[in-house]
Symmetry: C2
Subunit: 272 residues, 2 copies
């Protein structure tokens, strides 16, 4: 197991301010930054956006003992739950499940985001079928130049390619989009999107998640001023699952003898 | 104008880390923390969640020269646009509109949130028709105990009461809800919601906005473990507009001679 863990964490152990590492290993109550689990044999790997209770159960049923999760186990980017929710019953039951099943969980967030290009962004662009249309990969986003499509057509395309039930848009569905910025994860904020729009003459920003009154209000004001712009929110998980699928493909190539599963939970939100 | 500005900013000028203040006044290129506009006569007041381009135009048409905005003018909680987006064309045109119309904009965010109970939360609870059902007002949320309704019924109720086209839910629509936590604005994160759920035995958290993989994933895991819980996202603006309406009512009472309008922009997002 140590070789796979070392591979998915490569380069991040020394990175300041990172969140990657072994976040749960059997026998260690609090989780650990060191991999004592390293000596165990890998029976199977599951790659997920977030190791939910349901996906950990699925992983168990598949005989997996190593789960690679993009986000944390305990509902907070910077904390592992052992410290910030010490007595919480949901956290406790999730830890009990892990103890019972002997699964090791590794968080793999920073490493793929720090690749050039960002593995998560590139995986999303690839899943959207726009890899050949990439103009540039910036650190926090990619820019693609596509054949003109309306925003409504882009929404249909995105839903079909990613297999997701809905997207949220700010902007006119009839807006013709030619240049699109693509920002996976929580990068929909104005700090990323606005300079990107201006630097690349974008019509549309597609993001996972971002503060509602930043970029969406910016594009609304711009449109009102006579410069049509739009924003499309995929959902955080929806925007990063394709990149984790790409990471799983890399693992299969690197460790051909190991079964590597990609597990995906149900859509988190329903619209009513 | 000075008297109204002093009223809406009361107690916040000295508060550390606050964002309230005069964010735009005619004749001051960069905005100012001091109100030189104080001596101008007020021709009308508009109270808004966010002073969008469209609402500033509406305010102009109504003869308003003072706009009280809960959120900032320039797409970022902590910055006024003069510094963080100095050369941005959307910011520039918005400032041109303000210069042309002579409107003063005051941000009024911290003051209502710091009231006891929080004016914004209380306004939301009131708009939902649940003021008589309040169990407690905590600093960041209220708790209400209602007659049992399913989550789907709560969603219908909320949409009808607030006049909004949709909500997003995480959880089973058939879940019976009796105790609900209500967190206006960007307070849907696990840091607020999880302790609230546990302290008050909640079935449901209704929030404006929050990180997608915090509370929504927490309630999903809890339900999977056998403790049904749910989360309902109203939208940031949707959750705070009723509170700003309550603030407008206070202003009308305090300054009976001044026309006070409540302006509301179109829903920011469409679901496709």
């Amino acid at each position: 197991m140590g070789e796979i863990i070392a591979h998915v964490l490569e380069g991040t152990a020394l990175a300041e301010g990172g969140v990657d590492g072994v976040v749960y290993e059997p026998g260690s109550e609090a989780g650990s930054a060191d991999a004592d689990a390293a000596s165990a044999a890998v029976t199977g790997v599951a790659v997920v956006f977030l190791a939910t209770q349901a996906l950990l159960e699925q992983a168990t049923a598949l005989g997996v003992n190593l789960v690679i999760s993009h986000e944390g186990l305990f509902y907070c980017h910077r904390e592992d739950g052992a410290t910030w929710l010490p007595d919480d019953p949901v956290v406790r039951r999730k830890r009990e499940l892990l103890r019972r099943t002997g699964i090791t969980v590794v968080r793999c967030h920073d490493r793929p985001h720090r690749c050039q290009p960002d593995t998560i962004t590139a995986g999303l662009v690839e899943a959207l079928g726009w890899a050949p249309q990439v103009v540039t990969h910036e650190p926090a986003a990619a820019v693609v130049a596509i054949e003109p499509m309306t925003l409504a057509q882009v929404a249909r395309h995105v839903k079909a390619k990613l297999g997701i039930p809905y997207v949220r848009i700010a902007g006119n569905p009839e807006l013709v989009c030619r240049r699109i910025g693509i920002a996976a994860g929580y990068r929909g904020g104005a700090g990323v999107a606005v300079p990107l729009i201006q630097a690349h003459g974008l019509d549309l920003v597609i993001a996972g998640e971002g503060p509602e009154w930043e970029t969406p209000e910016y594009v609304r004001d711009a449109a009102r001023q006579g410069r049509p712009l739009a924003y499309l929110a995929l959902g955080h998980a929806e925007s990063e699952e394709p990149g984790m699928r790409a990471l799983a493909a890399q693992l299969r190539e690197r460790f051909p003898g190991v079964p590597v599963h990609v597990l995906r939970d149900e859509p988190l939100f329903s619209v009513l």
